[in-house]
Structures are given as C-alpha cells and as structure tokens.
C-alpha cells in the first residue's frame, strides 16, 4: 500500500470537515497511519472547504497535493483540484453535476439521499460507501465509527453508506486493497492534545475569548467540562481573560488561557503582570497568518519573536513550541507543571496547522503527571517573595493564616511596594535566579527533537517539523533534522553541538524573516545562510520541500 491521499471538497455547510474527520477515523480504525488537514476560508456558508486525508503504512506528519481520490461535492472542487489528481487517480462526484469529468466516477449522491428523504449534507455518507469499496474497507467497521460519531442519528447514514457501497461494487473497479488491522490509536487534533495534556497536569480552569485557530480548545473543553472535571469561562475580552486567569492562579487554581496573535497582543500587560507578580500562567498562542487580522483560518510561524519578547520589562519566562500533535500532549502538561514549579508565564506556541490538523496517535495517559509546586507552611510571617537560593519563593494561597500579597509594583519580600534601588535590584536578581533553576530542570527534559543522521542539518520548529521529516524521507541522502521545542530558555547545550557537527545547515520555517534562524544566531553565534521560508499562509508541502532541500544539499 505505502501511501495514498484523499481530498474531499465542497461548500461550507456541506459537512466537508466532518466527513474529512470521519474518513480519518475510519482509516485509523483500519490500523494505518493518518494525517488530516482542513482548509477552510473565514465564512460560515458557501465558499470552498476541503480536507485532505493522507493515509500511510508509515507515520506521516503532513499532507501534499498528489491525490489518489477526490470526492467532489460541488463543481468548484472539480475545477480547483482536478489537476492534483494522479494519472490513475479517481474523482468521485455527484451525478447531478451533469458534466463528464476525466477519471470521474459519477455517483447518484443526491438522488440516493432524496430516495431515503435525507438532507443534502448526507451526500458525503454515500461517497464514503464508495470509498469503502475502492479500498476494500469492511462496511461494518465504517458503520461502527458512524454509530460512535452520529449516535442515534447513525441509522439513515448507515443506510446511505450501504447504498453507496453497493453502487460502487456494481460499477467501479477497486483502487487498492488495504490490509485492515486493529487500530490502537486515536485520531486527534493538536488543540485537543494540548487540552488533554494540561488536564493531566491538573488543569482546573480554562478561560478564553474565541479566536481562530485557538477556538477549538474552548469548544473541546466546554464539551468535556464535566468528564474532564474542570470549569470553562468566556469573559468579555482577552485582557479580562489573562487578568482573570492570574486572579484564579493567585488563589491556587491551575489555569490555562489561549488565543491567536491578535488576542495575545491584547494580553501583553497581563504577561508582564504574571512576570512581576510571579503568578503561574500558561498561555497558548496558536499562530495564524498576520500581521493584524491577516488570514484568519490559515497558518504561519511569524509570532516567535513577538512571544519571546511579549510583555514590557525584563522577567523570566518559558516559551515552547510543540512540533507535532502527539508531542503537544506531553509538552502542554509539562508547560503547566513548569509554570507552577517556577512561578513564571509559560507560553506555548502553536499554529493553525498543529492546532487544527488531526493525526492518529497513541497517547500515554500516565506519562503526564501532576508535578507538585513548592508550597509554604501556613504562617503569620509568610512572605510571598521570600529570598531563597534558587529564587523560587514557596507559594501560599489566600484563605489560611498566611497573608498573601501579590503585586504589579516592584516590592519587598512581603509584597509591599518599594522604590528603593537596593531592594529593586535584589528583587530583579531574585526573579532572574530562577533562570538557572529552569535550565537545570530543562536539561533533564526533551528540549529538541532530532531525527535522522548525517552531516546535512535541517533546523526547524513547530508544525513545520512534520513536512520536514516527510520531505527528508523522500530524499536519497542522509539528512539530520533538528526541531527546537524550547525557544526560551534556549537549549544551546543541545543545538550548538549539532551545528558544530554539521557540514551544511538550512533553516525551514513559516515566516518571511527567518525568525528562528535569527534566534539561533543570537544564542549560538552561528549564522544560518540557507533558509527555506514559506509565508503564503499555507503549510509546507513535503514534496515541494523535498525538491528545495535537494537543491540545498546537492
């Protein structure tokens, strides 16, 4: 089998994303690797949506444009994507569209739906039936997934599934037979794994204002607030989000917030307040294409410098960018633990591609654990900002005999405002002492991902890692991939030796200025001359990227 790709396209409202997810789940159940990418414009009805489902024997982290099957729910899909179909590929379309299509498999999608008095959105179920035939997927397996997804509404859909399947059996040849095994993974998005990782590290309160592509964390945690045992609040704006979260954390609750660049821009004073007041906080910044409103439903990696320097004044922080959906689970849990361990703002950089794409992964529930924070013994003499050897003052929360004073002003150990230069200097140094403790801690954790071997080195970060790995696997050359997870504190101890070993280094990232390349130079002194940058708001295509890498490593 090796691999194949399926695209389903239609208008917003045709149920394209849901069908794309369903196809992903079906192949997940069939025991193969799946990557699902959703492409949709910023509108509610109409327009053009599509999902690409890449299926493979081996783990894949991205999607590309060489398609084996297209499911076209409208003629726009035919027009837009026909040229991406491989010579032997097939295009499933609604007979009702009329026109003859090259490599087309005309299916009476609409008529069958009308026959059972269904609604137009069910056309994609008929197409699924056809798909089952083309890849010899047992219809029972699909029916099972539909029962899970649709619940009581599954019955008419299963009927349509069978009708589509029967029609295909009679009229079309099979494309490929996949060997069905029992899948043991779950198809899940990056936003969902971020949420779950945080839950396993003790998340009890999630606060957010809607903004794409972070919104699906808000939806997911709202839907699961009872079974995941937490509470969700949607305040009036992002400023309120971050300050409310700091209030909750001050009172002892592990809290997380999220937004995209624009919303995070509004939160700046709160990031700084977290730094000054040493109140633990996790912020997820899921990047989309900017500047300003930019391209809301598309991807970018252009907020690295913004997040690294967010908030006014100097204060220690942790910035990390999980680079795939599975890693996002472990790293989100780690982020929440680190925020409470070091009492600093921890900023998780995600992006549309990581947040909203889905992959089937096996998550280890017990590998993310609640790591206990340093807690003070309740006492009348409690000092919230007590000087210690590592700069970390034990926490206490209001409600017992300790008086807990936190503040946005420079302060003494008790939390009373100060303007005395000696005290100011001492308190600044106390906060920055934590950097050493943070680095000691991070040295015991995974701060970078390294794949492959050889003297050719690709440096990348965040979701771009996926396309880089897939591209490198297409090359007949040894290439090592270094994906940097922790951007602050920067893991020089990992990065520098790899750069020294390399013959040639290239940086791959999703912005126009080479923000990571600049950071690498700042932290290691090494200037990366070769950069492959993408800034058209679309993720890297591994096939195109492989060609670009070939040129660099010739």
């Amino acid at each position: 089998m090796k691999e194949f790709s399926i695209l389903i396209g239609g208008k917003a409202g045709d149920g394209v994303r849901r069908a794309g997810n369903l196809i992903g789940r079906i192949f997940n159940r069939a025991g193969v690797y799946v990557f699902v990418h959703d492409d949709y414009p910023s509108l509610i009805r109409g327009g053009h949506n599509f999902s690409v489902i890449r299926v493979s024997e081996k783990r894949v982290y991205s999607y590309h444009n060489e398609l084996d099957v297209i499911i076209a729910l409208d003629s726009e899909t035919v027009k837009k994507h026909q040229n991406k179909l491989k010579p032997k590929g097939k295009l499933i379309y609604d007979e009702k569209l009329g026109e003859k299509v090259k490599n087309g498999l005309a299916v009476p999608l609409s008529s069958m739906v009308e026959e059972i008095k269904g609604i137009p959105i069910m056309r994609n179920t008929v197409a699924l039936g056809v798909l089952c035939h083309l890849f010899k997927i047992p219809i029972e397996l699909v029916g099972h997934v539909m029962n899970e997804v649709y619940g009581e509404k599954a019955e008419p859909n299963i009927k349509l599934l069978r009708m589509g399947h029967e029609y295909a059996e009679k009229n079309f040849d099979r494309i490929k037979e996949i060997e069905v095994k029992k899948g043991d993974k779950c198809l899940i998005t990056g936003n969902e794994t971020i949420a779950l990782g945080a839950v396993k590290a003790g998340l009890k309160l999630y606060i957010a204002y809607p903004m794409t592509p972070a919104t699906s964390i808000l939806h997911f945690l709202t839907n699961h607030r009872n079974d995941l045992d937490l509470r969700v609040v949607q305040p009036e704006n992002e400023i309120s989000v971050i300050i409310m979260a700091l209030g909750a954390a001050y009172a002892g609750t592990r809290t997380m917030i999220a937004s995209s660049g624009g919303g995070f821009a509004l939160m700046q004073e709160g990031v700084s307040l977290s730094g000054m007041s040493e109140t633990p906080l996790v912020v997820v910044e899921s990047q989309r294409a900017g500047p300003s409103s930019g391209v809301p439903t598309y991807t970018a990696q252009a907020d690295l410098r913004f997040v690294l320097h967010s908030g006014h004044g100097d204060f220690p922080r942790i910035v990390l960018a999980p680079s795939d959906i599975e890693e996002a689970y472990y790293k989100a849990g780690e982020a929440l633990n680190l925020a409470w361990k070091f009492q600093v703002p921890v900023l998780i950089l995600a992006d549309k591609t990581l947040s909203e794409s889905a992959m089937n992964v096996k998550l280890n529930e017990n590998e993310v654990k609640y790591e206990k924070e340093k807690i003070a013994v309740p006492s009348k003499d409690y000092k919230r900002y007590k000087f210690t050897n590592d700069g970390i003052s034990p926490l206490s929360f209001p409600g017992d005999k300790s008086i807990v004073k936190v503040t946005s002003y420079e302060h003494d150990e008790f939390g009373i405002t100060t303007e005395e230069p000696e005290q100011i200097k001492k308190m600044q140094e106390k906060r920055f002492m934590k950097i050493k403790a943070m680095i000691d801690d991070l040295k015991k954790r995974k701060t970078v991902d390294v794949y492959g071997k050889g003297k050719n080195l690709v440096i990348t970060w965040g979701s771009s890692k996926g396309a880089v790995i897939d591209a490198v696997n297409m090359l007949d050359k040894d290439v090592k991939v270094l994906s940097i997870i922790y951007l602050e504190p920067f893991p020089t101890w990992e990065v520098l030796p790899l750069i020294r070993e390399a013959r040639k280094v290239v940086c791959v990232e999703g912005n126009i200025t080479g923000q990571l390349a600049g950071l690498v130079r700042e932290k290691t002194g090494f200037e990366i001359k070769d950069k492959i940058l993408r800034y058209d708001s679309r993720p890297f295509d591994p096939v195109e990227l492989a060609n670009d890498l070939k040129k660099v490593f010739k």
Binding site: L205, I207, Y250, T253, E365, I403, K405, T417
Partner: protein, 282 residues
C-alpha cells in the same frame, strides 16, 4: 475587636487630608465589625486595586491582596471567587480606573452578577498623574488636559451600573465615614455584584469637600424603596442642590460563580481526570 491589627509598616504617601483616608478608615472599621461579630473571617478577605492614588490602600492593609493593573480590578476578583468561593473579593478602583480604562470589565461583572464588591474612589480627576480630567469630571472643570474646561459630558456611573444589572448599587461620601462603613458592611454581606461609588475630593486637583458636604443627604432615611429599580434610576440623576448617598438599589439574583461552579471548589479539587474515554474511543 481591638486585637485585630490591619496596619502594615508601609508609610502613608497620600496627601495630608486626602479623602482616601476616610475610605481606608471606613473599610478597616467595617472589616473589624464584621469579623468581631463573626460575620466573616479575616483570612478570607482578598482585596484588589487598580493603579492610582486609591490603589496605595493595598500597602496600608494587612490583608491578602492582588495589586492589579490600571482598569483591571473586576477580572482578578472574579478569578479569585471562581478559584475559591469561600473568599470575599473586594476591589478598590479610582474613577479613571473603573470608568475609563476598565469600564468594560465593570459592566460585564455587573451583568454577570459576579460575586465581587467594588469600591470606587471617585474624585473626578486623575490625581497620581498630576491632574487630568476623567469620565466623571464635571463639564467645565479645568485640568491640565482641559485648560478651557472639560468639554465632555460626565458619565453617570450608578445609572450605568443599574442598567448593567448590578444587584447592589450605592453611593458613599468620604467625609461621612460612619455612613460609608455601614454601606461597606452591607455591600460585603450582599451576595452578588455590589458597587459603592464614593464621592471624595482631591485636595490638590479637585477641591469639592464643601460642595459635597453641603449637599449630601441619606437616601435611606427619606423613604426610598431600595427594591424599586425605576425610582433608584431616577435618584441617580439627582445632582444639584441635593445629592443622595446610601443604597439606591438592592436585589437578589443567582451569581455568576455559583452557576459556573455548581458546587465545585476548584482550589480544593486535586483529582486528576481520566482521559481514557477520549483517547481510546476514536
């Protein structure tokens, strides 16, 4: 009562004679009385403030505090209440703080009936930034940034709070400490969003002590029905020869926090949820 010590070692930096002293004194007395009559526990009190002269009150009280940012007093109070519903979050804010920079938070906290208390030090000017007009400056007030007199119509904060859904709306006067203390006690014991707009002079930039002293009268001693919304609203527009102080409106409604939390106490909940039903299902 005498053994409750609310003082800190911080030096007062308010101007001598500042209206803030009246507010501080009323607040301390209110707390002492509530604590000694076992109505509240002192360790459950959490105070927050914005930025401005008013906010220095944080340093002057030996209480849990969240010394917040300009305009951002309601959000941390709501966060604190969500985290631990036994806490009693009380916010102090200036008129610039509450009615300019952070007016949106105030409206939404009132609308939600977040179980927090707000005390507004309303001196009609930005004082700590050395005298500029604010949303409550009367038309014609000359300040550094309104040299020909303020051209903007002042806001009516109590009317705004009433129409926003506040469940306890009151006005005090820093020159009547005993009255203000009683208002604070009522507000603290109110379940839901409570606001007290406190009229006070700024002895440097807005010398209105005499103006208020001659005009204020106790609304609650003149037959006002605190349950009557329309009459409360009408009373907020009374601002000429006589200025009413006291409780304008008081009602009961479910609080935001009790509806969100449904009995859960987040800060005590150490249980880690299982995610098996999600990761094993799809």
């Amino acid at each position: 009562m005498s053994d409750i010590d609310l003082n800190t070692y911080a030096q007062f930096t308010w101007c001598p004679g500042c209206g803030n002293f009246g507010i501080l004194s009323a607040f301390k007395s209110a707390l002492k009385e509530l604590v000694s009559s076992d109505k509240i526990k002192l360790e459950n009190v959490v105070v927050a403030a914005g930025i401005g002269c008013h906010a220095k009150i944080m340093d002057y009280v030996k209480l849990n505090n969240f010394y917040s940012l300009h305009g951002r007093v309601p959000p941390p109070l709501t966060g604190i209440k969500l985290s631990n519903p036994s806490l009693i979050p009380i916010g102090f804010a200036g008129d610039g703080d509450a009615y300019a920079e952070g007016i949106n938070h105030l409206i939404h906290a009132a609308r939600r009936n977040s179980d927090i208390k707000m005390v507004i030090h309303n001196n009609q000017v930005f004082a700590l930034t050395t005298g500029q007009f604010t949303p409550t400056s009367p038309e014609g007030l000359k300040t550094k940034t309104s040299p020909e007199g303020c051209i903007e119509r002042p806001i009516n904060p109590l009317a705004l709070m009433l129409v926003s859904g506040a469940t306890f709306v009151a006005r005090g006067f820093s020159g009547n400490v005993e009255h203000l203390k009683n208002l604070m006690k009522e507000a603290i014991r109110h379940k839901g969003f409570a606001i007290i707009d406190v009229l006070m002079p700024c002895i440097v930039f807005n010398k209105v002590f005499q103006f208020y002293k001659e005009r204020v009268y106790d609304l609650n001693e003149s037959g006002h029905d605190v349950k009557d919304f329309n009459s409360a609203l009408a009373k907020t527009y009374e601002w000429r020869d006589k200025i009413p102080i006291g409780i304008f409106y008081k009602t009961e409604r479910k609080t935001f926090e009790e509806q969100i939390l449904k009995g859960k106490v987040l800060v005590e909940d150490k249980k880690i949820a299982s995610i098996a039903h999600i990761i094993n299902k799809r």
